[in-house]
Symmetry: C3
Subunit: 534 residues, 3 copies
Amino acid sequence: MRKNTLACAAAVIGTLALLSLPVLTTAAKAKPANDGRAQCYECHEEVKALKEGSRHASLSCATCHGKMDEHMNDPESSRPVTVIDQALCARCHKQQYGSFVTVNYEAHARREKGIPTGRSPMQDKLLAGHGFTFEHAEPRGHAFMVTDQFIVDRFQGGRFQYRDGWKGVDRTGKTWDVLTDTGRKLPETAMAGNPTCIQCKSSDHILRWKFLGDRDPKAKWDRGSDVVAIAKDTNNPMGCIHCHDPHGTQPRVVRDALIQAIEKEPATNIFARNGRTDLRMISFRDGFRKIGVMEKVDSRMMCAQCHVEYNCNAGNQWSDGAKVGFDDRRTNHFPLRNSLQLLKHYRELDFYDFKHAITGARLVKFQHPEAETYAGSVHDRAGVQCHQCHMPQQKGKNGKSFSNHGVIRPKNHVRESCLGCHPDSTVERKLYQIEAVRNYISGKMRKSEYWLGQLIDSYVAAQRMGVTESVLAQAREKHEEAHVLWEYWTAENSDGFHNPDLARESLAGSIAASKAGVRILNDAMQVARKGDGK
Amino acid sequence: MRKNTLACAAAVIGTLALLSLPVLTTAAKAKPANDGRAQCYECHEEVKALKEGSRHASLSCATCHGKMDEHMNDPESSRPVTVIDQALCARCHKQQYGSFVTVNYEAHARREKGIPTGRSPMQDKLLAGHGFTFEHAEPRGHAFMVTDQFIVDRFQGGRFQYRDGWKGVDRTGKTWDVLTDTGRKLPETAMAGNPTCIQCKSSDHILRWKFLGDRDPKAKWDRGSDVVAIAKDTNNPMGCIHCHDPHGTQPRVVRDALIQAIEKEPATNIFARNGRTDLRMISFRDGFRKIGVMEKVDSRMMCAQCHVEYNCNAGNQWSDGAKVGFDDRRTNHFPLRNSLQLLKHYRELDFYDFKHAITGARLVKFQHPEAETYAGSVHDRAGVQCHQCHMPQQKGKNGKSFSNHGVIRPKNHVRESCLGCHPDSTVERKLYQIEAVRNYISGKMRKSEYWLGQLIDSYVAAQRMGVTESVLAQAREKHEEAHVLWEYWTAENSDGFHNPDLARESLAGSIAASKAGVRILNDAMQVARKGDGK
Amino acid sequence: MRKNTLACAAAVIGTLALLSLPVLTTAAKAKPANDGRAQCYECHEEVKALKEGSRHASLSCATCHGKMDEHMNDPESSRPVTVIDQALCARCHKQQYGSFVTVNYEAHARREKGIPTGRSPMQDKLLAGHGFTFEHAEPRGHAFMVTDQFIVDRFQGGRFQYRDGWKGVDRTGKTWDVLTDTGRKLPETAMAGNPTCIQCKSSDHILRWKFLGDRDPKAKWDRGSDVVAIAKDTNNPMGCIHCHDPHGTQPRVVRDALIQAIEKEPATNIFARNGRTDLRMISFRDGFRKIGVMEKVDSRMMCAQCHVEYNCNAGNQWSDGAKVGFDDRRTNHFPLRNSLQLLKHYRELDFYDFKHAITGARLVKFQHPEAETYAGSVHDRAGVQCHQCHMPQQKGKNGKSFSNHGVIRPKNHVRESCLGCHPDSTVERKLYQIEAVRNYISGKMRKSEYWLGQLIDSYVAAQRMGVTESVLAQAREKHEEAHVLWEYWTAENSDGFHNPDLARESLAGSIAASKAGVRILNDAMQVARKGDGK
């Protein structure tokens, strides 16, 4: 049926490739109905529903797709080309794209978190045994999300390096124009990295990755794929299509584990208001791929595609210690729970990341749980969404307003980020208030770390004194509890500002758990000492 | 006798209250003698002596007092109202008041001292067991002295919080417009705070607090009062009257323990020059209250009402370990001794604050001993007083000079603070020299902390190895010595600039004491090891 | 022969002294041949070779020398005066001199390295037992190189102090106008310092110090001289003549141990290109003194007179523990090896500096090995020399270009230092790239320190558990290895920028060695525990 040869649209873009993008001609815009899309719609009803009547209605299918005649001749074995390069979108959305790729020199490169002035000064001790101890740098802008991920010393042994040395550190563009594969493992590096984590960093694989990354003949990549191979096939950071449906411009989400988590708890998930979210799920290719489309922008969900705690690596089960490998869907999982709930969640999920190298406690290393942290905060309850503070409207060179897609740090842009809603305040005051929260919560983080350190040191001493395993096991449980309540905040990027109350409660809980662990061990050591007859 | 009904002055201010302050009419100023004050003077001779001939001579008593007719009808049971709100003073002294309440955004809020970049990075270990480990923030301006005191996590379990969330962090004004009582103890907080410490933070209770805070039927509050109750009755930060006599504008001091300390050693106290100070003590209500009045401003004493090491909390006795409660005057005590002298002083006073949670050493937590530090320094010997650097003259909007009552940090205002006396220098040079001292002394502080940490760690190890109590006791003594010589400098606010020589000597002494303690323990451990037959 | 009385030149400068420098008259310049130099050349052929035809050819000998008539009358016992004060050179080379003595207020004074924000936060633990733990300040400009050296708390017990207190901290000029000798040892200071180290700080002793500092009747000072005596005879920081031959303006080096090291490996030393350096050695007074003269400036060698790892103190031998005293030439030694090679080098040299106070490992404390670090780096291979980045050309007030002799930090002067070679970049970008390297390498340094700390702690624990000496010896060897690979980078002043690859390799090696040591100790402790029957 689809094998008719009418394929004018495809002909237009015959040589379509990244380096020769089609021109959006006025003609194409003027005659939406005559560009052959009807043929496409015969099979792709879900596309028609998205596209017709939308702001992209006038764009022909050939704008983004190529090799459509081959596809229509043999739809089963010949797939059309789909251009998902940001540069195509940028032909109309110049300002947004421009702000996305502009380097923000305020965000320093390769600044290690595990130093006295970093976000996690005691990291090497507290995360002993985890790959993040090899390099754990403060975050930079989205334009670097792929290259920063690949070059870090914990990713595949540091084999990927800047093509032209350190000058590459602020170079944006195609991944392999910036990086090179040395094929060489550097000393003191980890072999971490996996196909799932790349799904948050790039949109490149959206059509070649089955829902949740399950293995499938139709999917080029899955959770168990060779990570070096998929890395070398990853050319762009996360693109426009992660958040904007290309057919119809609807705000959307595409990250599978987020969709799964929201579908599981449609009325009670962290984004729901009045028992629901605005998200409508659309399935493509019989569930091979799903997207969630919104009526109105809810950037809390769009950003939550990455800015959440998620698990993407192999680990072990609490129940029996058995290995959980990439064949298991738990290696692509969004809990959507905050710091107070996560230990229980992971225990019920029967999954943990790694054992602490010193105490053997079963621990989780968090990602960047901004969405869960923000949920229920003062600003969230006031209806504020992520983009209002992080992607404020600004005037472009052409005089038109646009949303800054550089994703800024509000403390560096208080006027744009804060004063819109707080017009009676001043930059000086708001910055001071922001810093006050961060000062206070940073103080609590340092205290949590001190006490975790005390717990670990006491554990070692107790072990060396021959304290019984049952006591040590109690201490390890306290370690597990204290760790989760703390580590979350070194991964979260606001130093507590997103939700100071949650941060305080969580960190105080961490301190209390560590102290309890220290007490258990000290008591046991005192008994052990007396048992020595001293 | 005093029961006559002539009470015109009182009538004038009939409805006097904080929100309806009397107008200082020209008439009142012109006719000082006809405003009824003679009636007042019949009983209040000491007021007459202060007032007549002074710069406040023209103000009628009713300017600051109300309900005087009732008082004169029944002086024993009806006390006149006394307005001690700064706003009243501000009606004439606008610039001074304005500078007092202006928020200095250079002084950050709730910045914890116990972090790597703070003034006391190892505080949680070195002060283990003390309430300051729950929160110990860097100081801010005087306008926040009450709210910062009440909101800190070590004060009454953190029950007092900002009324409108973190936006309250830079709000000045009446205490309970800024704060609210949640009635709830937060986890990981201390229950510290006491009525005496509030006497340094507020002038509100000056007429309701007997000398030294002794219990008395005429005193609403005393050292043993319920701290939450007095806190909730505290509405203003320290007022003008702490340093300026309202009757006659004489420079003065009112803080009882300072007066006691100076009276005890009139010729040899740290402020005396040529065997005396300029302070004349005046007693009100048969010693219920005392003030000290100066001929000439000596801000060293005025500031020393708070900027000293003082004790205001319960503790224990060195001699027998007995508890020292708030009934004991040692809970309102100014030593006026510097870091080299304080251990001896507190041993003789037979008082210590707390036991270290790990070693059990008997320790003191210091307040902000700027006055004792400064005494005998290069600048003190040159005759420089506190206000010359911290409250320099500046031009107001009206073109008149006034003393900045914001109490500035000279390093942020080198021109105003330093160049008046050092006209041949430059801002750049003076700042560099200031920072050089602070760099050097901060270095010594970090070294002292390192060695105290070594001492504590060695103590734990020795204890676990079963080293004898007599050796441990020697080590604890070294800890007590090393602690006092160090901790003083984390409490003092100049990082040694007030007196670099004293700071160096003291911190070197701390290091030496810690090293001696470590040596004692190491020697004993070596013996213990050999005793094990190894 | 030389006893003729013709000594007009000497007569001209009869009263020559530092305070009455001779005027360079036009006449003197015009008639080079008639100023009596021929007499001098009769004996001083090597001077003639340098001087005649050079840019200093027109200057008479009397410009810098005095008492020449006495000398010529009795050359053996009467030596001419030689003025080596920079002020004399400055009469023509104003801009260079001016930039040398200008205080760079960006380089802070007496900022301790051993603090959380310093270059070596864990120094007091990792260097335990070494004098640098008493004070180890970040470097400042060359104008302070003598005073900073003498005043530091590890130099002769801190007996030298600022003459007028802390105001002296930014005073330049003659050493003893700035400093005074208190004659008093301060507590918590070291007695380090020696005559050799002063040879890098000052040019004052160039004529009174035999090659390598050997003892000789003709030398006033030698390696074994009293350090206080030579310090008090040291009046100027390193002068122009360290790098510029005064007779002929040829670029040169004078530091004996550098000359020795280059002579030893003429074709393979770190400065050699194509198997050679441009350095021609000239011997004065039968080898009493040597200089190395270049055809063309190679600032890599000029700066390497000080900016290298060198040994100048007494120590011990690896082979037998025997003391190595100042009579031994190893106390004036330049290895010219980088961090990866130095442990082997010092083992072969059979010399180490000190034993670690806790583990007893035999350690080296490095100086500032910038030259060895830079050798082989990207910039070195591109032919860039030190002065191009650190002493860039700048316009003087007179409009003429000159090389900034203030020796700047490129990160504060990116335009001048970097953009000459990188014209397509920007200050913002280059600074960002520089900081990225420093961030990354600083992170590695902190990791190295963490692991060294773990090694030391584990050693103590193992020792206390009675682990055998043979295991402890293995751990000490790992400590020795890890230490050298790390400590070098706290001494080097670029935080890795000079050679990021070398820094990474070295620090990773340090971490690996520490981890290996920890593993050895942990394994032994586990065995020991089981041996206790637990």
